[in-house]
Amino acid sequence: MEREYAKPEEYGLADLLCCAASREVADNEVVFAGTGLPMVAIMLAQKTHAPNLKLIFEAGTLDGRPPELPTSVGDARCEMGASRSSGLYDAFSIAQRGMVDLGFLGGAEVDEYGNVNTTCIGDYLAPELRLTGSGGNPDINSFARRTVFIMVHEKRRFVPNVSYITSPGWRVKKWPGGDFVHRRELYGSAYRGGPTAVISTAGVFRFDEQSGRMYLDTCHAGKGPEEIREMCQFDLDISRVNGETKPPTREELRIIHEVLDPDEIFIPKVKKG
């Protein structure tokens, strides 16, 4: 089937992020969903190229096929059509058991090695702002084969070292000393992978699994590699850029706005005219 890509005026950044995230999912994978845009992205994948993906909601739904978009992972809509409805013990056990292929996560700050902070801005002991805390972010990131972060791109968020490592990237701290080591050295038999992509409002970034360093993969329409490097506080590797992020297709936009999120809870429609 030929893909009919939408023109720039037909979609917004949230649409682009959602579709880019959706394309990270392969069919038949077990995917962990958090509240918000990730949920829309996964359900979009479920309704397009990955009809057999197994959707896990952290609050306790296994292999969910919600006919309608849940408002959060505790929502009654989550378990409609699911293989099993249970609780957190199930959700985290299957993650630790190594059954999760992919998790979608978010963050306030990310560093060059994919460490993510959702706990506080500034010094943990005297924070400028206390944020939500970890939630399941480190747990999914510890156990899933791949994790994808969806983030707003601002220079203050792409930093050399996050204020607090909430969620483990490729180069993490070995306690009690706090020296940085490759995560492979810490996780033993639980090592299965780590962050594989950051999808920001500027571009798509990936990681070199050996060095653990982030590099720019694709730029969103209208953004250049140099410009994106300027939007990071660390020296972003732009030597491997692979063109522009593919825009949403008209079919994807239709599913997002007519089927999944007609009320624009997570993804606003582009205003016409």
């Binding site: 509240t35 918000g36 909601f57 952290e58 609050a59 306790g60 408002t71 959060s72 992972v73 505790g74 929502d75 009654a76 989550c78 378990e79 409609m80 409805s85 249970s86 609780g87 957190l88 013990y89 985290f92 993650a95 630790q96 706990t119 943990y124 002991l125 924070p127 702002l129 206390r130 944020l131 939500t132 805390g133 970890s134 939630g135 399941g136 972010n137 480190p138 747990d139 510890s142 156990f143 607090y164 490592i165 909430t166 969620s167 483990p168 993490v172 701290k173 306690w175 009690p176 706090g178 080591v181 810490l186 996780y187 033993g188 038999s189 639980a190 009320d263 624009e264 809870i265 997570f266």
Partner: protein, 324 residues
Amino acid sequence: MSTSKRITLQQAAEVIGNGSSLTFSGFTIWRRPFALVYELIRQKRKGLHLIEVNGGPQTEFLVGAGCVDIWESCWVGHELYGKYGANLSRKVAEKAIIVEDYSHAEMLFRFAAASSGAAYAVTQTSLGTDIHNPEYDMLGRAGLRDGSNPHIARHKYRFTDDPFFDAGAQVLVPAVKVDVAVMCVQQVGEEGTVRLSGQYYSDPEAARAADITIVIAEEIVPEEYLRREADRNAIPTFDVDYIVECPFAGHPTGMFGRYDVDGAFLKDFYGRTRTQEGFDDFAREWIFGLDHHGYLEKLGWPRMMRLKANTALNYSPREPKGGK
């Protein structure tokens, strides 16, 4: 037939003394025992040690009202109705509360350990993160890990290597020590059998981990009715010490099959309680001077009818998604 477990909401709040360690049923903005939370605030409870698998609006209300000295958990916010816990954030900045951060799975495993009588849980989650930074052991920094407080472990965590199969580094996290768990559920029997509908989150672990478990139910039903299908019941009688019948006890959080989250209410709370003055003002409007019936009357029939779940769908198709 055992003696009655029925008590009132006021009596339930009195079970939780100053300085108690406390936990709740539910998940973020779902099935939180708000009627009891409001009553604790009215009764001006102090020095609570809140231990939660995850926090939510109930954390924000108790923290904003100054009832909580210590919060051990992993997350607080209002999901799509408010992106972080502004009251907790304010109290952290003022150093008016001690926050001990664990990961979500660590908290869950800590409850699971307590509920099975184990001293600690073992896991490989969150290795390499600042959750395990020894400088960030906040109860330790406060000098509270000396063994004198029965709710507080001597260490935040310990590391060990797998002695059995060489699986590598393992984290040991202490079982939680919870005095009281308050559950907010659909149905409870006269003797305490609990039937949950929908995802049961971490409720069975929480109920069994606590020394005293109070169940607040939308309805108390005959035990005989629940015992006809025992496989549908989540919590047995002897895990439950007290029961309270209190419809809409979870509002503004939602309850599967009964009512949706009141998103507009949570948005209003989040927007108005960034400052202590804002919180106090909100509490004067919605908590003080009211009892549960007064609160429901103030919310009004039209609002409650809109939130009421459709019994086939288990959510309300009338409540606009996103609280818009």
